[in-house]
């Protein structure tokens, strides 16, 4: 018996040790979110859904607004629609000593909806969000996240790193690669590399339209989410300046955006005036940009929009 327990214990210790070690190798290639739970608390944040996660590049903005350092803490609509859960996570991610921070709040109609059948209380709206299950948002390595959300064996962390290295070396020639891959940067920006030929894009756009139409059919505007958004603005104002930004999407999808909330810009303008914060509508030149699937901007367009956002923030700050 002793020999059995001794051997089993050795194997278990080795297995646990390997897992502890593998945790240190997890990085932006591990998945689309992990690294955002390992970065330190921040003074300036970009928040919102996947449009912001892929579309706003902190590196580009930080170069122009050199007095601050933005961090992209956006996820996806399922995980980071405005509500109590996301608000709490955002506030947890802020360095509490911050006084002159800046906060870009990306908005879209789909971030203010709930399922038509939803009768849940405010704190249950986002029970499926990964943020509702996380206690530690700034821990490296974040074993809580790895344990809860990495469904593959942790050895896969090494494989992902290896694959990403190979794929990144071929970034310059995207047309030779079918499919897509993502890399989460240290500043929270999710870089998505994909071929964007006309045929593939048409398919993805069609599928995005179907998805949004289906969501439209099954959703309603949530007053709770709008209220949570307004509360968030007030909370963030304690730490610095707040800017509401509406990012562009493919014109066909903007039509669906406007179908969901026909007076969206006007509504956001009212909120921005009520709370005395800036509102930047970047959809005016929506047809200028390239999109990966109609919803998300391709990285080159994301860089252009990020630059434009930074310049307009400077402009806004000049006038105030």
């Amino acid at each position: 018996m002793k020999e059995f327990i001794r051997k089993i214990s050795i194997y278990l210790i080795i297995a646990i040790g390997i897992h502890v070690l593998l945790g240190f190798f997890a990085d932006g290639s591990t998945d689309d979110f992990y690294q955002r739970f390992t970065s330190k608390t921040q003074s300036s944040l970009i928040v919102g859904s996947s449009r912001a996660a892929q579309g706003i590049q902190p590196e580009v903005i930080n170069k122009i607004l050199s007095d601050r350092e933005f961090y992209n803490f956006s996820f996806t609509l399922n995980n980071s629609s405005y509500g109590e859960i996301y608000n709490n996570a955002i506030l947890k991610k802020i360095d509490k000593k911050t006084r002159n921070g800046s906060f870009i709040l990306s908005v879209e109609p789909w971030g203010f909806i709930v399922n038509k059948t939803s009768k849940l209380l405010s704190d249950n709206i986002d029970s499926i969000s990964i943020l509702s299950k996380m206690h530690y948002l700034s821990l490296y390595p974040n074993y809580e996240y790895l344990y809860r959300f990495i469904k593959r064996g942790w050895g896969n962390i090494l494989i992902k790193r290896f694959e990403n290295k190979i794929l990144n070396s071929q970034k310059a020639n995207l047309s030779s690669i079918s499919g897509s891959w993502a890399l989460l940067h240290n500043d929270g920006w999710l870089e998505v590399n994909t071929t964007i030929d006309q045929v593939n894009f048409a398919k993805k756009l069609k599928s995005a339209q179907n998805l949004y139409q289906n969501t439209f059919d099954n959703s309603k505007i949530s007053k709770l989410r709008i209220l949570a958004f307004e509360n968030l603005i007030e909370e963030l104002k304690k730490y610095g300046k707040v800017y509401i930004v509406r990012l562009p999407a493919h014109p066909e999808l903007l039509k669906l955006d406007n179908k969901m909330m026909p007076n969206f810009n006007a509504d956001m303008l009212v909120i921005s005036k009520n709370h005395k914060v800036g509102f930047l509508d970047m959809t005016v030149n929506a047809n200028k940009y390239i999109y990966t699937d109609g919803i998300h901007m391709f990285k080159t367009s994301g860089a252009s929009v990020s630059r434009e956002i930074a310049l307009r923030i400077i402009e806004l700050e000049k006038h105030n």
Binding site: M1, E3, F4, K7, I8, A15, I18, Y147, K151, R152, G153, W154, G155, N156, L158, I159, E163, G179
Partner: protein, 476 residues
Amino acid sequence: MLFNSIEFALFLPITFVIYWFVVGNNLKIQNLFLVAAGYFFYAWWDWRFLSLLILSSLIDFGIGLTLSKTESKNKRKILLWLSILMNIGILGFFKYFNFFIDSFQDAFTFFGYQIEAHHINLILPLGISFYTFQTLSYTIDVYKGKMKATNDVVAFLAFICFFPQLVAGPIERAANLLPQFYKKRIFEYAQASDGVRQILWGLFKKVVISNNCSIYVAEIFTNYDSYSGSTLFLGTVFFAFQIYADFSGYSDMAIGTARLFGFDLMKNFNFPYFSSNIAEFWRRWHISLTTWFRDYIYYPLGGSLFSKWKTARNVMIIFLVSGFWHGANWTFLVWGFLNALYFLPSLLLERKKEVNSNKWSIQKPFKILGTFFIVCVAWVFFRAPNVSTAFQYLNRLFSSSFFELPSILTPKLDMVYLMFNILFLIGIEWIQQEKEHGLDLKNVSTIKRRILYLLVFSSILLFGTFGKEEFIYFQF
């Protein structure tokens, strides 16, 4: 509680330590502890259904005792039927009530009568098909005088709720497992370490093969109308490996876990995909259920003792019952029917039974591939949501697009890893055919053993998919 969950990873060592170190000196208390552990394990899923498990166990314990004291043939028959009706009644109510209601409604509609059917929102109690058959086999064996009724209620309850095999088998016979609860268990290093190896092999099958195959199977079976015949064939092959790795992986973990506690459970799978014919396949697949049907249905019906046609009828009956046992859906009945059809030619032509043989011949690989192919075709019915979808799937599979190159499903590299791991599984099991399980490494040098451990462990670590994927057979 899933075997591949963190809850079980905590439950198992705690139970192991208490079992051997705290209550190890007293057999009665040790058995009582196994009952408590079994009920805790079951209640982790849903404590409300624990009462059914206890009720079913107590009915058969009571009937068994009464049978042992009753000599009147008629009374004994009544007691047996009482047990059968109670057990099958509970199983039938939870598993088949809505199916029969739907079928009656469909039948009336077919003849032009519209009737309003009332469904009951029922949850299928976990493992009910398994423990019901286990308790029934006890009563039938006592009735037939094959074994004596036990008067040790704790041992009997422990036999029914023995946690390693409680929810998905192997369906143990009382004659094999119950006596093991009467004897003091002694810890044996060789038995326990082999148990751990079998658990490791089962875990590999579940998380590396089954869970990864399930990703592609779900995609291909859901969107079958947009894939070529060759891709659909790939989908059925993946499902064949998914279900095998899932269920035999569970059985390996169950048998391995039981060995840690000093128990020997029956073998449930004997490398079935290496079978040269369908009869051999069924001697190697889900052995505990197949032999249950053989002993308690096929033989009482006359087995193969009478005419060919009666034998064919009996085969058809057990396959249909087997299909129905799997679930309240016509797909399972068609699956059973198809397997019976595969079986009949050799039966009617009175071909000599081919024994499991490793003797190599030029035809053998073709026979193995042929058997695997027809088994795969039947699996389509097992996996499809309904019979018409299964036919549409097969119709597309056997179209001219069968000869196209299969679509490469993304992510591409994951599929390459999966293929590599399936080949690894086949290789190891081919080499280990004569052994108890894939990692039965008695008489293998230490260095070879360690290399194999390293390979299996690395595969689990690198390619395993964990999460909440239940074992397929939990639904039965």
